[in-house]
């Protein structure tokens, strides 16, 4: 502290240690990967350096005597509505380093969360509600192109479906684990996601880091991603999963690529990504073979050819200003689903300025895309997946009522295994063993425990979704899809209501 540069003195957190309760067991010393806690041989007790604390709460969670409290540092700059403390601290940091400010996870900025302004309907008197514990309730969802009409033919055995239906992802619940690459998060969590998705009958997405051959056995519940870096993409990979996704954009950082630092490229990541050990894995901002919808069409059909048209091929984009027109182009290019990632979507690393200022909220993007595809009569040609900021089962229900077929959850899945949103994923030192490939940290995620926690979360949400559906008198998630009459808004402007296609509460 005596030798700490001034810039570092304006740190964000402070450790409060209850000296009466602290037993100097040093659990905190061993758990902190940022070196906040140390055992002081002179004082013969555990001491801490507040300036190093990132606020992950790992020590607080594991302290056996509840002796630790991590709180925001109380010291305030002089109140200023314009120059809020985060901007002042950004400038101090950049004046010292000259670098881009990196961050992780989803944007914490205070833009409206429209989920909180939308309310669900329920049945009263004139239409019966349904008790999902006593009556059938269907959450099964199919992702893929649907035919406009069904044709039947008469056979001696009775009528038979004549229409050929394209490949579909069959989900037992309309929730999937979002793309989080092996590399950005470690192998233990990939095992956990694969196992949880298989157990639940849903899908997880490999992200752009490839798929380790030892996980091919979970392929029936895996979406393999093809991103701009093409890491780990080869014939076997494309045929290993139940679906293929072309990643064009990510909600946390629309318009920019990715950069997995060489420190995170260990032997297994190197083998899976097909990049040299210890080298940076850089995903370009654009796909260098996609500069138009026609180019995208070529890639979609190249991937369909490569997988013999057995699996649906989708496209993931970030929610940006013209998202509806872009989605329309993607559907016309032959994508079987469009995944839209809103600006609150998470990331392993992104420049903070991009994360907090680029893109639009998923609620508005989703409503705009669903409406545009309906207006153009092509909504059935592709499914729509909403991602980026889905926090609870009610958000899932609202997303489906706004027009999504299913949702992706990433941040919520990581929270289920301990993440506290400290947003330092980019350092590779994640004390919760999530966004790190350091063997001593990665093993903090026991795949058995993590798989159970992730599966528990989806099960809990599915039960809640069934209850909400039943309350609305619906016995199938299909009956909710795009059913905006089940939504009412509070406190929104007419423009917002028009974009969401939702009436105001009371109207």
């Amino acid at each position: 502290m005596a030798f700490t540069p001034i810039g570092k003195k304006y740190h964000d957190f402070q450790v409060v240690r209850d000296k009466d309760a602290c037993i100097n067991c040093q659990v905190c010393v061993r758990q902190c990967s940022y070196g906040v806690h140390t055992f002081d041989e002179n004082r013969k007790c555990v001491v801490h350096d507040n300036s190093k604390c990132i606020g992950c709460h790992r020590c607080e969670a594991l302290c056996p005597t509840d002796a630790l409290l991590i709180q925001e540092k109380a010291s305030d700059f002089k109140a200023n509505a314009c120059w809020r403390p985060e901007f002042i601290k950004y400038i101090y940091k950049q004046a010292e380093t000259g670098g881009v400010l990196l961050t992780g996870m989803g944007s914490p900025v205070n833009i409206p969360v429209y989920w909180d302004r939308l309310l669900l309907d329920a049945s009263q008197v004139t239409n019966p509600s349904i008790d999902p514990l006593r009556e059938p309730m269907e959450l099964t969802t199919f992702i893929g192109a649907k035919p406009d009409a069904l044709a039947f033919e008469q056979t001696p055995d009775g009528p038979k479906l004549a229409t050929k239906i394209g490949p579909q992802l069959r989900l037992k619940s309309p929730i999937m684990f979002s793309a989080m690459s092996f590399g950005s998060i470690n192998f233990n969590l990939h095992i956990a996601m694969a196992r949880a998705a298989t157990e639940l009958g849903i899908f997880y997405n490999t992200g752009e880091g490839g798929l380790h051959p030892s996980l091919y056995k979970y392929g029936a519940n895996t979406i393999v991603q093809v991103a701009s870096g093409r890491f780990g993409v080869h014939r076997d990979y494309l045929n290993a999963g139940g679906g293929i996704e072309i990643k064009v954009g990510q909600g946390a950082k629309p318009g920019i690529g990715g950069h997995l630092p060489g420190e995170k490229i260990n032997a297994k990541v190197s083998e899976t990504r097909m990049v040299p050990l210890g080298s940076d894995a850089i995903s370009p901002a654009p796909h260098h073979d996609i500069y138009s919808i026609e180019d995208l069409l070529q890639l979609i059909f190249a991937l369909k050819e490569a997988s013999q048209y057995r699996v649906p091929v989708g496209v993931k984009i970030a929610a940006v200003h013209n998202v509806a027109a872009i989605a329309s182009g993607i559907v016309r290019a032959g994508a079987d689903y469009v995944a839209i990632d809103g600006m609150r979507g998470g990331t392993g690393a992104a420049p903070g300025m991009i994360r907090d200022n680029v893109g639009i909220p998923i609620e508005l993007a989703l409503a705009a895309v669903d409406q545009r595809l309906r207006d153009e009569g092509i909504r059935g040609q592709a499914s729509v997946i909403a991602a980026g900021g889905i926090r609870c089962s009610a958000d899932v229900v609202k997303a489906i009522a706004l027009g999504a077929d299913a949702v992706y959850i990433g941040t919520a899945a990581l929270l289920a295994v301990g993440c506290t949103l400290c947003a330092r994923c980019y350092t590779g030192k994640c004390p919760w063993g999530i966004a790190t490939n350091d063997p001593s940290l990665a093993k903090r995620q026991n795949p058995d425990k993590a798989a159970k926690q992730m599966a528990n979360l989806i099960r809990a949400w599915s039960h809640e979704i069934e209850e909400m559906l039943g309350g609305m008198g619906l016995n199938s998630i299909e009956s909710l899809r795009g059913n905006r009459d089940k939504l009412r808004a509070v406190g929104l402007s007419q423009t917002e209501l028009d974009i969401l296609g939702v009436r105001h509460a009371g109207a």
């Binding site: 009466d20 309760a21 037993i23 100097n24 067991c25 040093q26 659990v27 061993r30 758990q31 594991l62 056996p64 005597t65 063993g433 350091d438 063997p439 001593s440 093993k443 903090r444 026991n446 058995d448 425990k449």
Partner: protein, 150 residues
């Protein structure tokens, strides 16, 4: 019999098992009193030892062997094998502090008592349904189960 099995793949080296063990074997059964008073005054120490080697770590304690070398080595009859429960039991009253068992144990799972001429050894938490270390492990790296061994 049910035994405590460590899984080094997911042991995170936090030493909470030691904290739990020490507390479970304290007089007060209170973690703060156990550490702040009993540890120094009575020489209370855990039967569990977490050993580290680079990123690898594992929590070791008595494995309650089928043919325990410590029992064979014990000169005073303080260590005995209970053939009914399968546990390797320790009677402190009979222990003369010769440390023969420490030398004999192939797993280094017995430690000297810090003050008394006695030893400290896992008793699988007599009186508890699940040993304290297993209950306290935050990462399921210790399991208490039957694996078909005697």
């Amino acid at each position: 019999m049910k035994k405590v099995y460590p899984n080094k793949e997911v042991c995170i080296g936090c030493h909470l098992c030691e904290v739990a063990c020490l507390t479970a074997h304290s007089k007060s059964r209170d973690v703060v009193i156990a550490y702040k008073q009993e540890k120094d005054a009575l020489g209370l120490s855990p039967c569990k030892t977490v050993v580290h080697a680079g990123p690898a770590c594992v929590a070791l304690s008595c494995r309650h062997c089928e043919e325990p070398a410590c029992v064979a080595a014990c000169i005073s009859g303080a260590l005995t094998k209970n053939r009914e429960t399968g546990r390797t039991e320790y009677d402190e009253g009979k222990c003369v502090g010769c440390w023969s068992c420490l030398m004999a144990c192939p797993f280094g799972s017995i430690r000297r008592h810090p003050i008394k001429e006695k030893i400290v050894k896992c008793d699988l938490c007599a009186g508890r349904d699940i040993p304290a270390c297993v209950e306290a492990c935050p990462n399921w790296a210790l399991v208490y189960e039957e694996r078909g061994e005697k």
